[in-house]
């Protein structure tokens, strides 16, 4: 193909995909191939497509995505480790007309913030919780998380997670689905284009649900941690399919207040 032929394709009227305008121009602080970036992007796309930049308040956690506020062009608060659902609770109750979401990793949401997670879900706060589960503490250097799989090697389970010593991996998404205060609970991934589309739809539903005032919309995204898992990005995604998905199966768990799994 000649440069001229290419130039004829690369024209504004032929645009089919570009980075959301809700994403800032700051370079994402994540490792190459990390699913966090993709998850950030689709949240931005949903906010842009719904036209709710002015009505949205996001909460970033402690961990790899602590700097989310540098990447999304919306008003954001940064929470102490695990406390994002408490912040979201207050924001939503004080400004019920706003869209409020938390973005939390597995250490943040399923370990130190378990109480805040469970109780915000149980109270039925009208918020969206986006939960990134990569089975590891990324930011602190790849230590064992509550979601770390059996046998999985991490910095604090160097010989693999031994269930007898270290306890069991936690399926917190299934737990919150059991609570009366959750309205929609789903588990997605963002490692292929088809999965990105599904995850984005789930996030859109989670935002739209806030107007129904029927409780928490909870979206788990099973994701990778190439650095923590010590794999290349494509290899990590393959490992995720083979190891994470059997234990954390993708799909809806609760739809419109009813368990479907």
């Amino acid at each position: 193909m000649t440069q001229e032929e290419l130039n004829n394709i690369i024209k504004p009227e032929n645009l089919v995909y570009e980075k959301s305008k809700i994403m800032t121009n700051n370079t994402l602080s994540f490792c190459p191939g990390c699913g966090h970036g993709t998850a950030h992007r689709i949240i931005a796309e949903v906010i842009e497509e719904m036209g709710i930049q002015e009505q949205t308040i996001g909460i970033s956690p402690v961990g790899c995505s602590v700097l989310m506020y540098n990447f999304l062009d919306i008003d954001m608060q940064q929470a102490a480790h695990g406390r994002a659902p408490a912040l979201a609770t207050a924001i939503k109750r004080l400004m019920p007309e706003k869209y409020v979401f938390t973005y939390q990793g597995d250490g943040d949401l399923a370990a130190i913030g378990t109480a805040e997670t469970i109780h915000a879900c149980n109270r039925g706060e009208n918020i969206a919780i986006i939960f990134i589960n990569n089975g590891i503490y990324g930011m602190t250097g790849g230590q064992m998380a509550p979601t770390t799989l059996e046998g999985m090697q991490t910095a604090t389970s160097p010989y693999g997670r031994d269930l007898k010593i270290m306890g069991n991996p936690l399926k917190i998404t299934e737990m919150v689905a059991m609570l009366a205060g959750t309205y929609s609970v789903t588990r997605q991934s963002v490692h292929t284009a088809a999965n990105v589309k599904k995850a984005k739809k789930a996030i859109r539903v989670a935002f739209e649900n806030q107007k129904l005032e029927k409780g928490v919309s909870f979206v788990e995204i099973v994701s990778n941690c190439n650095s923590g898992w010590k794999l290349s990005a494509p290899a990590a995604n393959k490992w995720m399919e083979e190891n994470m998905f059997p234990f954390y199966p993708l799909g809806d768990i609760k739809v419109e207040g009813k368990l479907v799994k």
Partner: protein, 75 residues
């Protein structure tokens, strides 16, 4: 029959060379360049532009949003 032609534009300096787009491309269009960008990453580029159908799979999976996708239909 309508023919679909696509093309991608990569923000070379923002690309981290993770290769997720390469795996996602159904037409094997993309490869990592031998050159590195300012951060030392081998950025992705269209090795086989003729094969691109503008499906945007690469754009959708790119964690850093560095790929912009264009598409035309011609008779």
């Amino acid at each position: 029959m309508a023919k679909i032609k696509g093309a991608i534009v990569v923000d070379n300096e923002a690309c981290k060379g993770c290769g997720v787009c390469i795996v996602s491309c159904p037409c094997k269009v993309i490869e990592l360049s031998k050159e590195v960008n300012g951060k030392g990453y081998n950025y992705c580029y269209m090795k086989d532009p003729d094969a691109c159908i503008g499906c945007a799979s690469c754009g959708m999976v790119c964690p850093d949003g560095v790929i912009t996708v264009y598409k035309v239909k011609s008779e």
